[in-house]
């Protein structure tokens, strides 16, 4: 019973982080939220007896993907409101 409650709690946290990533206008925070999703997902994989997948998820999802997105944000714009269309985005790129 405790196990099921724990798993459901983690799933609810994951959904919350996903919603936060969508509504957040500051893209850096949104990327961190997606990293949190991957972290919780990797914990879930570990709880559900899949340590191989948990290792992959922890390394790829939490570290590599997040860092690549952060580098992309550094080279483009940080706030979603800073651009309205493609031309705006092009001019915002350093």
């Amino acid at each position: 019973m405790m196990f099921i409650i724990l798993v459901f709690f983690l799933i609810i946290l994951m959904v919350g982080a996903a919603i936060y990533a969508i509504v957040q206008k500051d893209l850096l925070y949104a990327v961190i939220a997606t990293g949190v999703i991957s972290l919780i997902l990797s914990a879930l994989f570990l709880l559900l007896q899949a340590p191989d997948v948990a290792l992959t998820e922890a390394a790829i999802g939490v570290a590599l993907t997040t860092i690549i997105f952060i580098i992309t944000i550094r080279n483009t714009v940080r706030h979603e409101d800073d651009f309205k269309d493609r031309d705006d985005l092009k001019s915002a790129v350093k």
Binding site: D52, L55, A59, A63, L64, N75
Partner: protein, 232 residues
């Protein structure tokens, strides 16, 4: 004319590939319950591997793993191709602000530990959870830490592509060696040893070490390309 020859060759290869894939698994040991019992039994009795997932990924489904490694290679190559034009100033990373001495000292301290953990994961792939892909990713994470902390830390693209090609070629060669010795791609032809030993499982540890090196080189090269991408 040249295009016609290429199309003809592709058509012939495709026909034979399709023809041989149609026969796949027809005269194999497939029973009514599927293949899971076969895998579970053979892993312990023939391959002497503690981690069943590893034996399935590298031995029974080794051809699929080759496909996965190829996909990763193609993704890294495509990214390099897209960013190639802008990559004139290799070694000059654009940093917003230099990292603090604490971060530098800490990453220098952590880097060998992370690489050691990654190497441990892919060397012990047949004994404990993890394997080539996971270990390679952990090694790449260590290089990522160094690349972020030191703006003059650089890796050689030539060395990376050499490791990548070497590992890939040897993977395929081991597969063909299994074909030559036993009959199927990546069939085990080395002595399996005793279960739970580091040197056991035949070709599984060797293939996993190769996969680990390949994944680590590919992901490190990918991060390095993205980090060094300079806007014109």
């Amino acid at each position: 004319m040249k295009k016609l020859v290429v199309i003809l060759l592709l058509a012939v290869t495709g026909y034979y590939l399709g023809d041989s894939f149609m026969d796949l698994g027809k005269n194999g040991p497939v029973v009514e319950t599927g293949v899971k019992d076969f895998y579970l039994e053979k892993t312990v009795s023939e391959l002497k591997v503690a981690n069943t997932i590893t034996s399935i990924i590298v031995n029974f489904r080794g051809f699929d793993t080759l496909g996965e490694v190829t996909v990763l290679f193609l993704a890294a190559t495509a990214l390099g191709g897209i960013l190639y034009k802008k990559r004139h100033h290799v070694g000059e990373r654009s940093v917003l602000f230099p990292s603090s001495p604490i971060v530098r000292a800490g990453s220098k301290l952590l880097f060998p530990a992370i690489v050691l953990l990654g190497v441990y994961v892919f060397v012990h792939g047949h004994l404990s959870p993890g394997g080539g892909f996971q270990g390679g990713t952990i090694v790449a994470t260590g290089f990522l830490l160094m690349l972020l902390a030191y703006d003059n830390f650089s890796v050689s693209h030539n060395v990376l592509s050499f490791i990548e090609s070497f590992a890939g070629i040897f993977f395929v060669l081991f597969g063909f060696a299994g074909m030559w010795m036993g009959g199927t791609f990546l069939e085990n032809f080395l002595p399996v040893g005793t279960m739970n030993d580091l040197f056991s499982g035949g070709i599984i540890p060797i293939v996993y070490i190769l996969v680990g090196f390949k994944v680590a080189a590919e992901l490190t090269g990918l991060i390095y390309t993205v980090l060094n991408e300079k806007e014109t």
